[in-house]
């Protein structure tokens, strides 16, 4: 399985340019898609999930033209949209059975096995006969995961899957996703850097509809090794002063004080300490660079 995205552009009727000539190649792997809100992640995912046509560009999946032969893609697709609702007064069990039929699982025994397994995996077994509309946010999200994994999909697209999950469920989901095994393409879109760090051998950072960085998280981290420095300051004035003189990647509040991380080729001194780089630094640095280049334009 390999997904090739090339030259994708999309402008919405309200003038928002969601995708700008975006190209990516994704193999049989867990692929993380990082980006801030409005970066175009969901537009990209919807395009690959056959729900939206781009203005230009092409998407192919193992030789299938995704934009033309949509049903061929849908047969191998597992899709969890960022936001979704459920029919009122339907139980998870009935709904999963329905979706299993829709996905061509014609054998009843197989269908039962799969639905039961997924209900167990997503910890919905006890509530399987309850109406979906009574589910809490986390349970609903787990149901979404379950339906995406029906029918052994070859292409899994999950948009912000861990939003709304408590830490234990998040771990369980990530385990489940990683266990699905080889020969499956998984695109995981998120703005939670840790999801990608923990799960994805490859990733891309996108913003404003463009790819800022594509590669493995490890390689990206290597580039920053020894170039991240941190300092703790107490007041807003000090923070403003630092922003003026350094390329600040991020600030965190630690015990009421600002921990400032900057990117620099060498140690700038002035109480800055070198620190280990994290994937988050990669992310913020890329966004900051892009913002700067846009401002320059």
């Amino acid at each position: 399985m390999a997904l090739t995205i090339s030259g994708l552009s999309k402008t919405y009727p309200n003038g928002v340019k969601a995708l700008r000539n975006l190209s990516l190649t994704i193999g049989n792997e867990m692929f993380g898609l990082l980006g801030p809100n409005g970066a175009g992640k969901s537009s990209l995912m919807r395009t690959v999930a056959t729900l939206q046509d781009p203005d230009s560009g092409s998407v192919t999946l193992d030789g299938i033209d995704v934009l033309k032969d949509k049903n061929a893609v849908r047969r191998v697709l597992g899709y969890l949209p960022q936001e979704f609702g459920v029919y009122p007064r339907m139980s998870a069990l009935d709904m999963l059975h329905h979706l299993a039929i829709m996905k061509g699982i014609s054998n009843k025994t197989e269908r039962n096995q799969m639905v039961d397994a997924l209900l167990n995996q997503t910890n919905l077994w006890a509530a399987r006969k309850k109406s979906l509309s009574t589910y809490s946010g986390g349970m609903k999200q787990r149901f979404g995961i379950a339906q995406a994994l029906l029918a052994n999909p070859k292409l899994i697209i999950v948009d912000e899957p861990t939003a709304g999950l408590d830490p234990a469920e998040r771990n369980r989901f990530l385990n489940l996703l990683s266990s699905i095994g080889s020969n499956v393409t998984v695109i995981l879109s998120t703005h939670i850097v840790d999801d990608v760090r923990e799960l994805c051998p490859r990733m891309a950072i996108i913003a404003s509809g463009q790819v800022l960085l594509e590669g493995s998280p490890a390689a990206a981290l290597d580039l920053l090794n020894g170039k991240i420095f941190s300092k703790v300051v107490a007041t807003d004035d000090e923070l403003r002063a630092l922003e003026a003189s350094f390329s600040v990647i991020s600030t965190h509040l630690v015990g009421g004080l600002h921990e400032v991380r900057i990117y620099a080729g060498t140690n700038p001194g002035a109480d800055f300490k070198p620190v280990d780089s994290g994937l988050e630094d990669v992310y913020f640095l890329n966004l900051a660079t892009q913002a700067a280049s846009q401002a320059a334009n």
Partner: protein, 1216 residues
Amino acid sequence: MAQFWEFFTFELKLRAKSLSTYVYFALWFFLSFLCIAAEDFLNTGNDKVLLNGPFATTAIYIIFSFFGCIVIAALFGTSILRDFQRDTYQIIFTKPITRFAYLGGRWAGSFVTTVLVFTGLIFGEAAGTLAPWADHTRIAHGAFHWYVHAFLIVTVVQIFFLGSIFFTIAALTRKLFVVYLQGVVFFAVYLVINAIFNATRSLEHFWSAIFDPVGLRLLDAVTRYWTPVEQNTLQLPWSGVCLYNRLVWMGVGVLSLIVVYALFPLSVETLTSVSQGRRAARERENDASAAQGARSLVAARLPIIHQVFNASTTLAQFVSLTRIRIRNIFTELPFWAIFCVMVMYAMLQGHFAGHFQDQNVYPVTFLMLDAVRGNSFILLLVVATLYAGELVWRERDTHFDGIHDALPMRESTDWLSRLAALAAIELVLLTVVMLCGILSQTFAGYFHYELIEYFKELYVIVFPQVLIYTLFALFLQTVLKNKFIGHGIVIGSFVLLAVLQAHGWEDTLYLFGNTPSYTYSDMNGYGHFVPALFWSITYWLSIAAFLGVLSIGLAMRGADDGWAARMRLFRHRTPRLMPAAVAFVLIAIGSGSWYFYNTHVLNEFLSAPQRRDIQAQYERDFKKYQFLPQPKVIAVDANVDIYPEHRSFSGTGHYVLQNKTAAPISQIHIVDTQQSISNVRFDRPFHKVSSSKRDLYTIYALDQPLAPGEKLNMNFSVGYNSRGFRDGGERPELAYSGTFFDVGYFPTIGYDPGFELTDPRRRREQHLGPVTDLPQRGDPLGSRTNLFTKDSDWITYNTVVSTSDHDSEGKPQIALAPGYLQRDWHQNGRHYFAYSMGDVKTLDFFAYVSARYDVKRDVFQGVNGPINIEVYYDPHHPYDVDDMIASSKAGLAYYERNYSPFEFKQFRILEFPRYRAFAQSFPNTVPYAESGFIGRVVNPQEDIDRTYFVTAHELAHQWWGHQLIGGAVAGSNMMSESLAEYSALRIAQKKYGDDQMHKFLKHELDGYLRGRASEAHKEPPIVLVQREAYVWYQKGSLVMYGLADFIGEDKVNLALHNFLMQYRYANASDNQDAPYPDTRQFVAALRAQTPPEYQYYITDAFENIVLYDNKALTATYVKTPDKKYKVTLTVQARKLKSDGSGNETPMPFADYIDIGVFSGKKGHEKTLYLQKKKFTQPKQTFEIVVDQLPTRAGIDPINKLIDRIPDDNTIDVTKP
């Protein structure tokens, strides 16, 4: 107070910003505007009632305020619910506000807004009066005070109490669903109760008026007998029942405000626990159940499955989608609300299917289907409209579309499953309707279930029509981006169709989803309606199916809802959909062409306005000939061959015409309204002078004029050939079984005023003056003209009629015409019957009938020998045959004894299909519609046996109409209709007793008073009656019975006998051209038998319009020493004379009026005392001693006199 003001103005500001406020206002404005500007929009009265008069205004406001209950619910309900919907209540109720400020401000704001919204009614009405195209003869100007009065007494009061109730319910439940549902529920429940009340035909008008929240019953109770003059001047008064009603309901409003003030909790905790508690609890419970038990964090491998995508997968997808969609609908409360309304309606209508006007009938399947189908059809359309929106939008509305749209299925599978789900729901509902019908039949004790008829009607005829609308609604919802606009268009188009049809746009081919009207008849089944139904349904269903295919192409899928994206998808889907689209278009073109060929080429298509144009043109062109001297028909001889299987007949006719005038006649004018005459020839040289379009009016000139007294032979062909089918308007006279046409298919000599337009409004449209009345009594020409047949006095009649031995069902038919059967024979697969009246002269009024009949025969020994009684009936309807024979015998006996011997040796009753509903008396032959053959008497004490009554009535016409014929002058109609009605009353009285007759007369009184209240022209005294059926029927029986009460049955019958013996068979011999009798001679005959002190009654009742206003004032009793009871009764008597328009003037009087005392409960009184007393004073007191404990007493207690408020004639007798 400041807080109150804050909330109040906040509410007003919010409403002022809301679009819905203006939409509601505009809605009322336009509805009210249309009522005035477009006369047909809402019928509030006859031609003499002002469109914007006080009565019409009140009626309009009541109706729209009633519809407005849904708007009232929405406005009041949302004001209190707003904080809970938007979760602002947490903020508001944590602030120190008072209950009064919060509730009062919200309520007052809503009240003011709602009142302002409803003022649209006033402004719309005012604007309507200015419309230049409106009918300004029916609009009064400067009538603003009428609007305001009606608005206050009807609308404002209703807004107050309904709004308060809805406000209270919304505040205490805090559920949006309840807010919308309560308006609908109120609406539906009221309609049901109102329908039940109407169906009982109760004459109770007091309590029902007081407790009517909407005002339909109240208006009816107060204005029931208002004449047009009163309807144009009087308002609903702030007194009497009106005042009580308004007080009761304002009281309810105040009470509900007290309730909400007392019970509304003003703390967040209490409020939350109700609105959110249950939901939160469920979520907690679910989460808790999930957390049970520790699970391994290691993910187990998911099983391997195999995907199959083939045709059976598509089917499985379709089934699964359809199933969850049906389930979705079934689990929704609104669906069950509609379902319950439907069942309620169907059961209610089903219950009354066995009550046809004021009689009981067997609830045969066609009646039951009529009853249960009517309202159900509307509800089915509501379901189709509503759920088309829900089904198309459900995925998007629930945000499930992301998952749903990415499923591996075809658009067609998805879309068709929506259609299938809706269709399944509709089939379920139709089945429910069927079960309600069967259940209702069972409850009515009728067990002849015709499942096949239910099936045909509901599944084969109704269901496809519903499906057409379903496809249309699905199409709209698919194409449009707003669900509610879609609903609006579907409902709008349904209304538009009705409006178009009312204005002469009648062609089924362009009225969406329309089918021509049809009538099921037990004699004929769906008969000749089948082809038109089949082809129109095929035509519209294929067009709708094409829209369906288009919808599949345009169905939204995915996130992009822009038209560019949808067109891209459409082009992509087109190739697959093309074959189906082409097929449906071809079917539509094919069936449409065939329909057009039948309805426009084989038959002439005429809309109602076009038909009126023809009538008006006829009058404009030929009215000038109305009094042109013409010869009269004195003999008819005809050969008629009926081909029932082709709904056709052909034949030849021979008339002998005689010049009965004193001058020679050189032109013969022939009117042919049925396009059935051809080949007219005379026995001497002649030529055609002119002929109008469709040969409606043809003038022939005789080369040698017809001398006075001379006779002329005229031969002609007569016949009508049905070709193909029509777009509605099939001739009811021609049927596969039950052909029944009369002399109207034969040539009329001279101008026939019967073909003129009579509706005053239509005449105004055509710029025709008022319709010509019959001339006054004594008019030289009118007096010499037969009332019934202008072109003939009496005729001799011979005919041979034949019919098919193998009709459309391969069965033999019997053909009938008036006269005695001379012989019958079979020839060439046809059955011939020769009928003759011999030497007996009859009215020139004959009919031809042919049907599959069973026959029942009986013989009555008349004074001049045996009389054969024969009933020809459809085998489905054996029920009333014996009843008809019994009535015929009773009638013959009574009429021969009291009036004169029966003229004929036979009396036959023939059933004909219910395309027309009447019975008609031809010489010794009475065709009677199917509806008369299913009459049923369940309880002889209570039920009116209408079949028995009508049979006696038609039989009586053999005397009053066939022996005694009046001249074509004012009043003559009463000498046939009133006397037949009186005769029939006597026959029914002999069988069912006096009490039943009093009950019957009470309904006659109600019918008369209502008839005159809706008189569009002017009411005549009965002896001058023109065409006012309520005068010659209802008033006729009242005054004849009233007279008999004064002078006795014997004296009345003696007067009738003398009158009949003197004037019967006027002009019966050839050459005779003398005056016919009129009501002057009739009144003289009555006066001759009436003692002087009662002569005033004849003057009042027959020669004038006189109304009484009698009333019991007080009644008390004391026990006398000899254990009797002395009743002291004070009564008021007033007598008023009315002119034709209803203007009344008090009359002096010296009248004899009944005084009565009764025991027993109201409605079940037993007479203790009943005597006529002479009244000269308006107020009189009587002392009456009776033996038993008196309960009721009064003046004219059993309503023998015409009194507009009969209920106040008696009162309870109390101790002083």
